[in-house]
């Protein structure tokens, strides 16, 4: 299982961050996540694998400066 913003989501082999975000409402608005403590941004969502038992947090990225 994966913990996605505090909720349990089933894990499957070779799951990417992009695939995981199918469980999120308005995935197109997610630009940055934290995967097991490491920041991952949208340009690498497809290429980044999610390990089993991962903890994923959606980062509200609207700020800066």
């Amino acid at each position: 299982m994966i913990t996605l913003d505090g909720k349990q989501v089933p894990w499957r082999p070779d799951m990417s961050v992009a695939q995981l975000l199918a469980y999120v409402e308005k995935p197109e608005q997610v630009a940055v996540i934290r995967l097991n403590g490491k920041l991952v941004s949208r340009p690498v969502f497809e290429a980044t694998a999610v390990p089993d038992n991962a903890e994923v947090v959606l980062i509200p990225m609207i700020a800066g400066g």
Binding site: A31, L39, S41, A63, G64, G65
Partner: protein, 713 residues
């Protein structure tokens, strides 16, 4: 140093008024030339229209200078103010000082928002704002002592020059054993020898038992300060509580403060982790999105980008509370203990580095091709200690590095420095030269606008290419975000009042990443609302970070997530509770709009503030060189074909660069049209008479400036 030589030049006793709803209702003026100390009442109109903070600064500065005043004229003022909510200990981010002056870099109004204890201590000592005019021979220290109710102008000839040591000595001396009662404003040798000097504002770190520093960096106010002969300003105050501002509704203030603080404590660890990482979390994100300035803004990404961000600094930052004002739960002012510089006067000695923040990492790291945290820390340390703005230093050095690599300048001009990207030792040597006022450092310390003219005139460099790659607008160096793919952020930089600093508008993610504002009108609306709301923080003595660096969990489900309206409503409640002036979110925007337009007219008074002054270099809009185009060929080709419907078959890269440039420059001009219209300005970028009347700033002198510039009813 055991014994300090102190000569009292002037000593004035005063009676500290009782603060009422966040205001003392008086300001302090000090003329260094005559040593006159002038305490003036704050008229109701000043509070109503200008609110406080930057608004009060601008009011005082406008009175001090004429349209002919230059930055180093005695009548130029350094103005510092808090704001009605400034100094509230329980509400996150309430300790800011706002500093304004006529800038050495731009020739017009500059403002800088800075943490540390000075602004609140100035206010609790009895003054809503401070304006310093005149000049002295040097070594002047101004003491504003709210505890003993006295103002003193002192000559202290044997103080250290470096800002850190100077502030520590003054804190020890005036603190009388209670260092937390002192905040010092100082500059350093770099401020004296360049045009982009910064000011260091101190706060006392009780946990680490040391003086800490925040910087009013932009626009060279430290240079004005040094030119006036001011060594330091010291404020002395003791106790602070939620009651210190004598708020109109203490219970209301307590309620909203608790709500906000609790939310930040709960959510920050899940979100951006400001309290442990500060703004360093932005580095890997910007790098991933091709937004991290690299090699003088040529590129937005580098393989080394991940070596200089939060993943590294989380292990380097010293653990502990890092709030630059009491009780701030964002607490993002991190630092590094026991750093040992490998160059310069502190070589081999252990020092504490306050920072780095994102801007310094990007400006003095990736933009220089330096991906080594130690060098970034060393540049950070020396810039602060010398009183140099890390943003202008970073962007200026990046410019000369590209000029060097393009052979526009050579070792003959640099005095032997090999200024290719990544040469950390010569970059550091250049900074030491700036502080010493020697060699090529004195040239780079003039800033990019003057360097462009000098390189073309004296060194035979190509003026057109320098114009394209020199990242300045209005004379101010760009802060550290790539804007090529965000038209809204190009406008956010180009149409910012003081020059290209992101504090007015940071729209890259909303525009480029989320595509929330696809039309010109939507971009123009964003370039109205966001600069206005962000301006409001500087009117009130507040920090912007708590507003949208930590957001409510349900924020994404709101109508306009980018505005974080739950927090905006809390700010309106906060303002109402302190001042007793019942306010809604729309009222906050109106408050800012008046001050914002006044500042635009102020620019006009100083000979700027027109459409032509909102121009930005083409490097900010798109690829200048073939190398840049070819680094993102797929992106640019696609845009030419799909967005601009151009048949690119058979075009050379040079022709495609030129075609893209034409489209992008047209887009920027179209954006200017839309923004000026939304702001109620003429197509030359000047507020109309109807606009200044609507905002209640139709003072005779404002109307006179408009009329002189061809705008009348």
């Amino acid at each position: 140093m055991t014994q300090l030589e102190i000569n009292s030049v002037r000593k004035v006793a005063y009676e500290r008024p009782a603060i009422e709803n966040g205001y003392n209702n008086q300001t302090l003026g000090i003329d260094l030339s005559s040593t006159a100390v002038d305490i003036k009442p704050v008229p109701d109109q000043m509070k109503e229209r200008f609110i406080g903070g930057k608004g009060f600064d601008l009011w005082l500065l406008w009175d001090a200078v004429s349209g002919e005043t230059r930055w180093n004229d005695p009548e130029n003022a350094v103005c510092i103010a808090s704001g009605p909510m400034g100094g509230t200990p329980g509400y996150p981010g309430s300790g800011k000082s706002i500093v304004t002056s006529i800038s050495p870099l731009t020739g017009s109004v500059i403002d800088s928002n800075v943490g540390g204890y000075f602004g609140p201590y100035l206010k609790f000592s009895g003054f809503d704002a401070l304006a310093i005019t005149g000049k002295t021979a040097g070594d002047t220290v101004i003491l504003i002592d709210g505890i003993d109710e006295k103002i003193e102008i002192l000559e202290m000839p044997d103080l250290p020059n470096d800002s850190y040591e100077l502030s520590a000595v003054l804190t020890g001396h005036f603190g009388q054993g209670k260092s937390s009662h002192i905040s010092v404003v100082s500059s350093g040798p770099g401020a004296k020898n360049t045009l982009f000097g910064c000011l260091n504002f101190t706060w006392y770190d009780g946990q680490r038992k040391m003086t800490r520093y925040k910087q009013a960096g932009r626009g060279g106010i430290g240079t004005v300060f040094a030119d006036k002969g001011i060594k330091a300003i010291v404020a002395r105050w003791d106790s602070v509580s939620l009651k210190s501002n004598q708020p109109d509704d203490l219970d209301g203030l307590r309620t909203v403060s608790k709500l906000y603080s609790k939310e930040i404590v709960t959510l920050d660890p899940k979100q951006n982790k400001m309290a442990s990482l500060g703004t360093t979390h932005l580095v890997p994100i910007m790098n991933d999105f091709d937004l991290l300035p690299t090699h003088n803004f040529k590129f937005g990404q580098h393989a080394g980008g991940n070596l200089i961000g939060s993943e590294v600094f989380q292990h380097i930052f010293d653990k502990g509370f890092d709030g630059c004002w009491r009780g701030c739960t964002v607490a993002c002012s991190h630092g590094v203990r026991d750093f040992v510089p490998f160059t310069g006067p502190y070589k081999g000695k252990k020092v504490f580095v306050d920072g780095p923040e994102y801007e310094t990492i990007a400006g003095c790291g990736s933009n220089l091709g330096i991906f080594d945290p130690s060098t970034i820390l060393e540049i950070n340390f020396y810039c602060d200690n010398y009183g140099l703005d890390t943003i202008s230093v970073g962007t200026s050095v990046a410019f000369v590095m590209e000029c060097f690599e393009m052979s526009q300048i050579s070792v003959e001009h640099t005095g032997g420095l090999q200024l290719y990207f990544g040469n950390r030792l010569d970059a550091l040597e250049l900074i030491h030269q700036m502080a010493r006022g020697e060699g090529f450092g004195t040239v780079v310390g003039q800033g990019i606008r003057r360097m462009k003219a000098l390189f073309a005139r004296e060194y035979g460099a190509d003026a057109a290419i320098l114009q394209d790659i020199g990242m300045e607008s209005k004379g101010l160096e760009f802060s550290e975000y790539m804007t090529k793919e965000s038209l809204a952020q190009q406008g956010g930089y180009g149409m910012a009042l003081k020059g290209p600093q992101h504090d007015e508008a940071w729209l890259i993610f909303l525009d480029m990443v989320h595509n929330f504002m696809p039309t010109f009108d939507q971009k123009a609306e964003a370039l109205h609302w966001f600069p206005m709301f962000r301006t409001w923080f500087s009117l009130c003595g507040l920090c912007k970070l708590p507003w949208n660096d930590i957001v409510p969990e349900d924020n994404k489900d709101t109508l306009e997530p980018a505005k974080v309206m739950k927090h905006v409503n809390w700010y309106a409640d906060y303002f109402t509770a302190v001042t007793g002036r019942k306010s809604s979110p729309d009222d906050l925007i109106s408050m800012s709009e008046a001050v914002y337009n006044f500042q635009r007219v102020f620019n006009l008074k100083m000979g700027y503030g027109r459409r032509e002054h909102d121009a930005i270099p083409y490097r900010a809009m798109g690829p200048v060189t073939v190398e840049e185009y070819e680094s993102r060929t797929e992106r640019y080709d696609k845009q030419l074909i799909e967005k601009h419907e151009l048949d690119i078959a058979g075009l050379s890269v040079e022709e495609k660069v030129a075609a893209l440039r034409k489209f992008r420059e047209e887009q920027y001009a179209e954006l200017q049209d839309a923004v000026y219209q939304r702001r109620g300005w003429t197509q030359d970028g000047i507020p109309t008479v109807a606009t200044v009347k609507r905002l209640g700033i139709d003072f005779p002198e404002v109307l006179a400036v408009l009329e002189e510039n061809g705008v009348s009813a």
